[in-house]
């Protein structure tokens, strides 16, 4: 049953991404903006949106684990956070590439990218913590607390960096709401892309869940053998 859902989702994702990519690469006019590279925004911004939401969702799952002590929620929290970390990395890399094109530098300490970098560091710490603890209860419990602290902190990070004087970049912000006008033609594929990312995230989380549950089973069999 799980397999069938997974297959369906993957098929839906494949169709969606293929159709959307075709539209983005071929369907949109080049001269709407000065350059062609703005298309990378379609990969850059949705990754941030879904990734950051994922961190929040991970925090909620962590909270459910702490309330119920059911390991299913811990595995779900870890998988969600890990996938979100990957999406954050995609956001950072695409942002860096775009920055190189726009401003000539690989990294320009732009407010949003810097905030994402700090969030990435916070949750990379979460993953490191999980790898450092072998005992499943302790690992679940402690990483749940880190997830909670990290997510609250991420909110602070975004707000504070937004207000920090030096990071208000003088050049054009990585966005396509230029001149206050929203070009409908540009925005529709954006939302389809967001959906595609959400599908991707769900698929990856499901795969990760299965990996984790098998790993746990092996671990408990190993303990049983040693006892």
């Amino acid at each position: 049953m799980r397999n069938r859902i997974l297959l369906l989702l993957t098929a839906a994702f494949a169709v969606l991404i293929a159709w959307n990519l075709k539209h983005i690469l071929l369907g949109l006019p080049d001269e709407a903006r000065q350059d062609a590279i703005f298309r990378i925004l379609y990969f850059h911004a949705p990754a941030a949106m879904v990734g950051l939401t994922g961190f929040g969702v991970g925090m909620v799952f962590s909270g459910v684990y702490l309330a119920t002590k059911n390991f299913y929620w811990d595995t779900l929290a870890a998988s969600t956070t890990e996938v979100s970390l990957m999406l954050a990395a995609i956001n950072l890399v695409t942002g860096s590439i775009w920055g190189r094109q726009q401003w000539g530098v690989w990294w320009a300490w732009d407010a949003r990218l810097t905030s994402m970098l700090v969030c990435w560091l916070i949750f990379a710490g979460y993953m490191m913590l999980r790898r450092a603890i072998e005992e499943p209860d302790t690992r679940a419990r402690l990483s749940a607390v880190v997830s909670l602290f990290g997510t609250v902190n991420a909110w602070f990070v975004y707000k504070v960096i937004e207000w920090f004087p030096r990071l208000q970049h003088p050049g054009p912000v990585l966005s396509f709401r230029t001149g206050g006008r929203i070009d409908r033609q540009l925005e529709t594929p954006f939302w389809w892309m967001v959906l595609a990312y959400i599908l991707l995230a769900v698929i990856l989380v499901m795969i990760r869940m299965r990996q984790e549950s098998v790993a746990r089973e092996i671990d408990s069999l190993r303990r049983l053998a040693h006892a």
Partner: protein, 225 residues
Amino acid sequence: MFLRQCLTVAAKDLRAEWRTKEALNASLAFSTVILVLFSFALDPNPEMMQEFSGGLLWLVFLFAGALVLNRSFAREMQNDCLDALLASPVPVSGLFLGKALANYALLMTLELICLAEFGVLFNVRWLGNIGALLIVMALGTWALTVVGTIFSALTVNLRLREVMLPVLVYPMMVPPMMAAMILTTSLLNGDPIGPGNILWVRVLAGFDVIFTLLGVAFIDTVLVG
């Protein structure tokens, strides 16, 4: 009663630290070395110091402070003292606050000494806005204390404790450190805290309140399975 128990725990930590002065000496030595290294890395001319003084100072506090924070729960692991503390009637939140208070005292002492060194080595006047400066240091140090203490408890049983503590704490310190750095630089340049700056004081205060509450709420989860 609760307050008395917190103070008992804090007094115990401070007395033990005062006997050996391990953490204090190590962090003072470390901070001096960092300050010297900074003087080689940057040219400490007055224009440079106008821009960077606050940032430098808090970097030193952060790095040297980690040594103090690491010791906090680590010293309970020797001889299994943590078990006896948890088995006692002291509420775990009391244990947390007591340790946080002791860490706070140690960190503030460290920082005041660093501030004096900094003033001498980099020729920075800090007596000007001393009142406001102390308030900023007090708020910023509490942020470091509260996050550092809870993560010290969290990492106490880990193999890679000395590595994991900075890895977890430093990214989370970005918001309060940014606020503290901006305020300190401006205060060291002689500008008082005005309507432009007051935002950062609010950020620090808000961060302190929220993370103290989170720490008190979750210390039990962290220490008792």
